[in-house]
């Protein structure tokens, strides 16, 4: 008994003094904390943000997007629209895949057709919807590709920024499953060394990458579900970059000797979508009243550490089509009360709002308070994201007056990517289908979608913004920042598209 006890004690002591392996923290390793891993490393077979962030560092697309959100050459050196429906891309010569083979026009064609699966009724790739407009991929010669769309498709270039080019021969040899887990091969700056599910993805710099070698030889993505744990790892050097730092953690990371923060406005816009099918929000005056009731500035300053920007509509300033001449609703509770009386509710009215944005619960409750103060007596209902919330939405949000949430455009910098899901009433529209009923809006959204004439699109979007500001199908709130916590040993800044393009990361001098 005693011997056994001493043995255990000795073991525990040995464990205590054993060298601490914090994930091989040399200055040649960059470690990033993600809340989880995507189900596969195959860039075409998932649509998870956490997977995209890994994939962009392993795969190149035809185009790259700079930190200033401009299109840059990547695997395509130049591109132009030959007509409304035909785009020409010149391919970069001599690009190598991680297995040593050279990228060809065949690989590019294969990559698209792998997702499009022409002739098949059921598509395997969850990204099919993103590029479904492409009708044909034509190899003109060894360095020229034509993408032909079924109708004018203005979002094509946006969609190509995240569309990895994969090696045809390699995938046909190793099979899809191995390609997505152990034998992942792209043309990007880093190649796969090892993926331990729910633990880490370890990558190594690819010597023959066409841009040259990245500053960090190893890139590791650790899966850490809890924010508090990720923060502790950052402070102790176990990881170098953490994402989605909340306002309450900012002072802590700002003041810590080993860490700093990097923050930038992103596309994510917050709103309360109002149910225009039933009282009281079937009346325009009531919807406008709700918009006048919100003190956006105070909320941004007091609850978001100043990291946000009030918006006039749901179209975000960095998105194509944003019109700065449309101004946000001012905070005017007196006017809100007048408008509510005009709408037929001089003594106020009871409403219920729903949300599944658990991280934003305090903000949601504050919004409810402000609405209550002008007479829109609000009950806020918080849902767990997941089954209950989906069920709520399946019943078309019955017995409700609106929903608080946010929309991130899937990182597509175009007004269409927020207007269509929120306000288009046809299937394919998301909340729009349930809540929005703005006369004439569907037609305008469709019109802007079906031309590649960017000037004309801009004009249509300007009209739409003026229209929805007046009609107020939502309470327009603010855009959010993305904030990274970064080790002081690493030079890197947050990007407006929330990407982690780590080729740009350097050891801090």
């Amino acid at each position: 008994m005693t011997r056994w006890l001493f043995g255990l004690l000795a073991m525990m002591f040995a464990a205590l003094i054993a060298p601490i392996d914090t994930g091989a923290q040399g200055k040649d390793t960059l470690t990033v904390a993600l809340p989880s891993h995507a189900p596969t490393l195959d860039p075409h077979m998932h649509f998870e943000r956490v997977g995209v962030l890994v994939n962009i560092n392993m795969f190149d697309s035809l185009l790259h997007r700079s930190a200033k959100l401009e299109f840059e050459p990547s695997l395509a050196t130049s591109w132009k629209a030959l007509s409304d429906t035909t785009w020409e891309f010149k391919l970069r010569k001599g690009v190598k895949f991680h297995d040593g083979s050279t990228m060809t026009a065949e690989d590019v064609k294969y990559s698209f057709e792998r997702v499009l699966e022409p002739g098949k009724e059921k598509k395997k790739s969850p990204q099919y919807g993103n590029i479904r407009a492409i009708k044909e991929v034509k190899i003109v010669d060894a360095e020229t590709i034509h993408l032909i769309t079924d109708k004018p498709f203005p979002l094509l270039l946006e969609r190509l920024v995240y569309f990895g080019i994969v090696p045809k021969k390699h995938i046909e040899k190793v099979g899809e499953e191995a390609f997505g887990s152990t034998a992942t091969v792209g043309t990007g700056p880093w190649k796969l060394v090892e993926w331990k599910r729910d633990q880490h993805i370890r990558l190594e710099a690819f010597d023959q990458h066409w841009r040259g070698k990245p500053a960090f030889k190893y890139l590791v993505f650790r899966a850490i579900p809890e924010v508090a744990t990720a923060v502790a790892e950052l402070k102790t050097g176990g990881v170098d970059i953490i994402r989605n730092v909340n306002a309450d953690l900012l002072p802590d990371l700002k003041n810590h000797p080993q860490t700093r923060i990097s923050t930038t406005p992103i596309l994510r816009v917050h709103y309360i979508s109002l149910d225009m099918r039933s009282a009281p929000f079937d009346k325009k005056a009531a919807r406008q009243a709700a918009n006048y009731a919100i003190d956006r500035q105070s909320m941004i300053q007091k609850m978001m550490a100043g990291l946000g920007k009030e918006v006039a509509t749901v179209v975000q300033p960095p998105a194509f089509g944003f019109d700065p001449s449309v101004k946000p609703y001012p905070y005017d509770p007196k006017k809100a009360k007048e408008l509510l009386a005009q709408a037929g509710y001089p003594n106020g009215v009871d409403i219920t709002l729903h949300s599944s944005a658990v991280d934003w619960r305090p903000h949601f409750e504050a919004l409810g308070q402000m609405l209550t103060e002008v007479g829109l007596r609000t009950t806020v209902k918080m849902w767990d994201p997941g089954p209950a919330w989906n069920k709520f939405f399946q019943t078309e949000g019955k017995a409700t007056n609106g929903q608080y949430g946010s929309w991130g455009n899937y990182s597509v910098f175009d007004a269409d990517a927020v207007l269509h899901p929120l306000y288009h009433t046809e299937p394919g529209g998301w909340i729009g289908k349930h809540y929005a009923r703005v006369e004439g809006l569907d037609k305008l959204i469709d019109e802007a979608r079906s031309t590649v004439d960017q000037l004309r699109r801009k004009r249509i979007y300007a009209d739409i913004q003026r229209m929805i500001r007046e009609e107020a199908p939502s309470v327009f709130l603010w855009t959010q920042n993305d904030t990274l916590g970064i080790s002081k040993k690493v030079a890197y800044e947050a990007r407006p598209d929330e990407w982690l393009w780590l080729f740009a990361a350097r050891p801090a001098s």
Binding site: A18, D21, D198, Q199, T236
Partner: protein, 304 residues
């Protein structure tokens, strides 16, 4: 002995059927599973999927089919990972069991000496202090203890890694966190059962033989006091597996609990079903094992 074993095994089968009934109803309790799987699809497509999944059959038929498949370890494909759900859960089971066993070991390591100390020196300041500290531990939620231990040992003193599961040192904090949950109970059991035996005749005889107090306590008293501890370990095993779910999230341990939490968020029912089923079976097995061990340790049970 065989009759006893057969009785226990029969009970095991009954519990397994009960577990599968609960697991089976998880999917149906959460509303229309098809609508959850394809929320944006047209009703015609949903009908086709319903047909394909056999959801149009009577519930009893579905249940029998579910049990038949579950018995073969077939819970279907995970929606998210697109791999057999059972395999994904089984892959992570050793980690969770390892964490739980380590937690029990650490808990015993703390509970047995403190319990014995408290019994031998009962009603002294030391006894009260030990009780107070240990109970303070139990009244704090696992989640919070985990973060506090992390802040102290990993951030403040830099003795151990913050999270992960790739070296012995990274296993200490999760095991300690999970163990803290069950240490007080173990300690109380050790203390009270020690108190029971410490004044019995055979202990007095041992002392009379002139054995040292240390030997009397360890060899004679503690061995007989160990019986109830075995029972409690079995009972606590289930609670510990439940606690492992939270601990795994806090310390980024790649176990079953974390897989299930992720699956719940993603509506990945095959994984939730496979995970809950397997964990439940583990708990039932642990109890069965305790029953058998008990017989081995205490012959009087056999006679009943």
């Amino acid at each position: 002995m065989p009759a006893f074993l057969i009785r226990r095994l029969l009970r095991f089968v009954v519990v397994c059927v009960g577990v599968s009934l609960v697991t089976f109803s998880i999917l149906h309790a959460s509303g229309d599973p098809v609508a959850l799987i394809m929320p944006e699809a047209a009703e015609a497509d949903r009908d086709r999927l319903r047909e394909a999944l056999g959801l149009t059959d009577p519930l009893a038929t579905q249940f029998v089919r579910f049990v038949a498949h579950a018995a073969r370890g077939d819970f279907g494909q995970s929606f998210f990972h697109r791999e057999p759900a059972f395999r994904l859960v089984v892959e992570r089971m050793p980690t969770t069991l390892g964490l739980t066993c380590l937690a029990v070991a650490l808990a015993l390591l703390i509970a047995i000496p403190t319990g014995v100390y408290s019994a031998v020196f009962r009603n002294t300041i030391g006894d009260h202090a030990a009780t107070a500290v240990v109970f303070l531990g139990q009244s704090m939620p696992v989640f919070w203890i985990g973060i506090m231990l992390m802040l102290l040992f990993a951030v403040q003193w830099r003795l151990l890694p913050v999270s992960g599961w790739d070296s012995w040192s990274s296993m200490v904090l999760p095991a300690l966190t999970l163990g803290s949950f069950t240490t007080p109970l173990f300690m109380r059991i050790v203390r009270s059962s020690m108190l029971e035996v410490i004044n019995l005749d055979y202990v007095r005889t041992a002392r009379a033989k002139g054995l040292s107090e240390w030997l009397v306590i360890c060899r004679h008293a503690l061995r007989n006091a160990a019986l109830p501890i075995v029972t409690v370990i079995g009972l606590q095993f289930g609670l510990l597996l439940g606690g492992a779910v939270l601990t795994e999230s806090v310390f980024a341990v790649p176990g079953v609990g974390r897989l299930i939490i992720g699956a719940i968020r993603q509506l990945d029912f095959p994984i939730v079903q496979a995970g809950v089923f397997l964990l439940a079976i583990m708990i039932v097995l642990a109890n069965l094992l305790v029953d058998i061990l008990y017989v081995y340790l205490n012959p009087t049970v056999r006679l009943r």
